[in-house]
């Protein structure tokens, strides 16, 4: 029992990552109709916003420490961040420690900017081109973005730890009456889950309860008619693209303490995020979120030792197996609309 609760918790956490990425993707892919292979790259760029900010925060000057030697026997050069000089060592260290949460503020404008730039500069010209062309151009863009990051940050993973305050786990088990240590969950993952919920809620609220959102939804349903009504739907789509990029980027920012980012992480998530969007159903935002959680929880269950012993290799394929079963039983995924990307 405790095992099952534990894996549901895990699944919710994995699911919230999938849901966040799929949410951004489905805004672009399921609604604007652009097959965006660069979406994983946006997720990756978000994560590197964190890396960049922590690099900025730790910008240092060298102080030569004569008492210690480096590996070649020369006096050791110690890097002292400027921020220590400005705020004192303890405040400075605290600011650096909180780099990941601070990156949210940094990433929102940056990612919206990147999204808008991408839409205006490139994607806009591909709305009416075949999906094949969209695949090629966004895939090319994804490679270029990756390589730029690799050029400046290297190929290795870069640690971006959560603030000290979030290190360690919360003992759910003890709180609800199981053995101590039976159901533990790291604080940061709880933060991630809550953050994902808030972000998803905000996007839905924005689309549901604002005039802007209403127009966008109308535009998704029938772009031409909305255009005929004299509404500038293009501008709104640009903004939506920016929002989608920001959602992907924020998912990346908050994900950094869970997995140290590297330039390749976007590609790793690309395939799974397409699967999530399609399983959720094309053109459906709730579908994408639901599919994210369903697949996340299934993946967690499949990784249980008892399950693997029963069905070797199930943990490798469970997501794809689930996708096949769902698509065969529900022709348009969980909550898909008719006629979106079906031909």
């Amino acid at each position: 029992m405790d095992q099952i609760i534990l894996q549901i918790l895990n699944g919710l956490d994995k699911g919230s990552a999938y849901a966040l990425i799929a949410l951004g993707l489905t805004l672009i892919f399921g609604t604007l109709g652009v097959v965006n292979f660069a979406h994983g790259a946006l997720f990756m760029l978000g994560a590197f916003c964190t890396v960049t900010l922590s690099r900025i925060l730790t910008l240092s000057h060298e102080v030569i420490d004569e008492s210690r030697k480096d590996f070649l026997g020369n006096p050791l050069k110690v890097d002292v961040p400027y921020i220590y000089d400005w705020f004192g060592e303890s405040t400075g260290a605290a600011i650096i420690d909180w780099a990941v949460p601070l990156s949210i503020l940094f990433a929102i404008p940056v990612m919206i900017g990147i999204g808008v730039l991408m839409e205006r500069g490139l994607v806009k010209h591909f709305y009416n081109r075949p999906h094949a062309d969209q695949i090629l151009v966004t895939f090319g863009l994804a490679i270029v973005l990756q390589e730029i990051i690799k050029y400046y940050f290297g190929a290795n993973q870069i640690p971006a730890p959560a603030p000290e305050a979030f290190v360690g786990s919360f003992d759910f088990g003890a709180a609800v009456g199981f053995d101590a240590g039976a159901i533990i969950y790291p604080y940061w993952r709880i933060v991630y889950f809550c953050f994902a919920m808030v972000l998803i809620g905000a996007v839905f609220a924005f689309l549901q309860f604002t005039t802007f959102g209403m127009v966008v939804r109308a535009g998704m349903a029938d772009r031409e008619t909305v255009g005929l009504l004299g509404i500038n739907i293009d501008r709104r789509f640009t903004i939506m693209f920016g929002i989608a990029a920001a959602v992907a980027g924020l998912a990346g920012v908050m994900y950094t303490p869970i997995n140290s980012p590297n330039y390749h992480m976007g590609m790793d998530f690309l395939v799974i995020s397409f699967v999530v969007v399609v399983v959720g159903g094309m053109g459906s935002l709730p579908g994408a979120v639901l599919a994210g959680f369903v697949l996340g929880i299934l993946e967690s269950f499949a990784s249980m030792r008892q399950v693997i012993e029963l069905l070797p290799g199930i943990n490798q394929v469970v997501i794809y197996l689930a996708a096949i079963v769902i698509l065969l039983t529900r022709p348009r995924g969980l909550l898909g609309r008719k006629g979106v990307m079906e031909d």
Binding site: D133, F139, I143, Q146, P312, G313, V317, A323, M341, D343
Partner: protein, 401 residues
């Protein structure tokens, strides 16, 4: 000729000539010259050109004709390779059973996957094929290790049974080495070198076997494109619903097309194993499926020759640009003054060697932005430019007469 009209016959003949003379055409720069780095006329790369050409031609039969975008074709490539490899381990080192069997196995697997996946269309179809291929990859890399060799892959071994008699390529080789894949005693890696002036041309047996297979595959693809069957598939692409309303069941046509396409991939996989006896699971990964999609789009979807060109271009970048290093750059620019030399090297450095992906990505974007129909459209534009000039000339000269 061959049941083709004049235009197609000439296309086939041109392709045949290009393929036959590839060892010469692909080595335009003299040996030892600074530009020899860009020569592609060595056996391995030429084999890859035609093998991936076959793969892309097959993919284009499905995608180009019906518009169904399969994201799992690498599964058939990999399955074909494994099947071919097992033939070379169990039966004979002769490549013929390997090639035949790999095509058949890929056909059977694509029949099964196609039968299920074709219940859906559009993006749902793509994701189904992707899911099947990813499952095949994950299983081949892990739990199927006894069959696939797992991550280290499947190779021929000294103690493989090879049950056929030795004149058919069975048994082990006498000298304690693993026998090399061969065709009745002619090793696939055997080459014939022809030095002419400053050039050396390498004519490789394996390459010509692949080339013959590719020409056959190409010919068959033309026949499929021009047949009533092909017409039916094109009709599916333009409006499947209307086809269904007219009372036609398109499923059998689609499935046949999917299986043909899968068998092309299997053939390519079998040839890969025959040319280079090693199969790894990553041959089935989604990136490999994505690669053939990119090849086809890059060359020109639905055109006959486009996918082959796309395949060639991607493989060329992968194999040539990744091998250029700073040392070579310094050699190339050594005629410049030192400062300028270093400047040039610094400028070009990010795009070569470990940066070859960047060049590839930029090329993808450039081609799709400026040549919406892929490389074939580029060719057509150039042709039109020449024709335009000629036409202009013609009109200019006529009044004088």
């Amino acid at each position: 000729m061959f049941g083709l009209d004049k235009k197609d016959t000439s296309l086939l003949l041109i392709v045949a000539a290009l393929v036959a003379l590839a060892p010469i055409i692909l080595n335009p720069f003299p040996e030892g010259s600074a530009l020899a780095q860009f020569n592609a006329g060595y056996p391995d790369l030429m084999q890859r050109f035609v093998i991936f050409g076959i793969f892309a031609i097959g993919f284009n039969i499905l995608f180009g004709l019906t518009g169904y975008l399969s994201f799992g074709h690498a599964a058939f490539l990999g399955a074909g390779s494994y099947a071919g490899m097992w033939m070379m381990k169990l039966l004979t080192i002769n490549v013929i059973p390997a090639i035949i069997f790999s095509t058949i196995i890929a056909g059977v697997i694509s029949l099964a996957i196609g039968w299920i996946s074709l219940r859906r269309s559009g993006i749902y179809f793509s994701i189904l094929t992707l899911a099947f291929a990813q499952m095949a990859f994950a299983l081949a890399a892990s739990v199927l290790t006894p069959i696939t060799g797992g991550e280290t892959g499947l190779q021929t071994n000294l103690n493989d049974p090879r049950v056929l008699p030795s004149f058919l390529g069975g048994g082990a080789s006498a000298d304690g080495n693993i026998p090399k894949p061969s065709l009745f005693g002619i090793e696939m890696s055997a080459s014939f070198e022809l030095p002419v002036g400053s050039w050396v041309w390498t004519f490789n047996w394996g390459y010509y076997i692949c080339a013959v297979m590719m020409l056959l595959a190409f010919y068959l693809a033309i026949r499929v494109f021009r047949s009533p069957f092909g017409l039916m598939l094109k009709a599916v692409k333009s409006n499947q619903q209307r086809m269904n309303y007219t009372g036609l069941n398109t499923r059998p046509y689609m499935l046949a097309c999917f299986v043909i396409s899968g068998m092309y991939a299997g053939l390519a996989g079998g040839l890969m194993a025959a040319m280079d006896p090693q199969v790894g699971a990553e041959r089935m990964q989604w990136t490999a499926s994505g690669e053939v999609v990119l090849m086809t789009i890059l060359g020109g979807v639905g055109t006959l020759i486009g996918p082959v060109l796309g395949a060639g271009l991607i493989k060329y970048f992968e194999n040539i640009f990744s091998k250029i290093n700073d040392n070579l750059l310094h050699q190339w620019f050594s005629f410049l003054p030192d400062g300028l030399e270093n400047f040039m090297v610094t400028i070009i450095h990010p795009f070569i060697g470990k940066g070859w992906h960047l060049t590839l990505g930029l090329m993808f974007m450039g081609i799709v932005i400026f040549l919406p129909g892929g490389l074939v459209e580029g060719g057509q534009r150039i042709k039109a430019m020449f024709k335009g000039k000629k036409a202009e000339k013609a009109t200019k000269t006529t009044p004088a007469e």
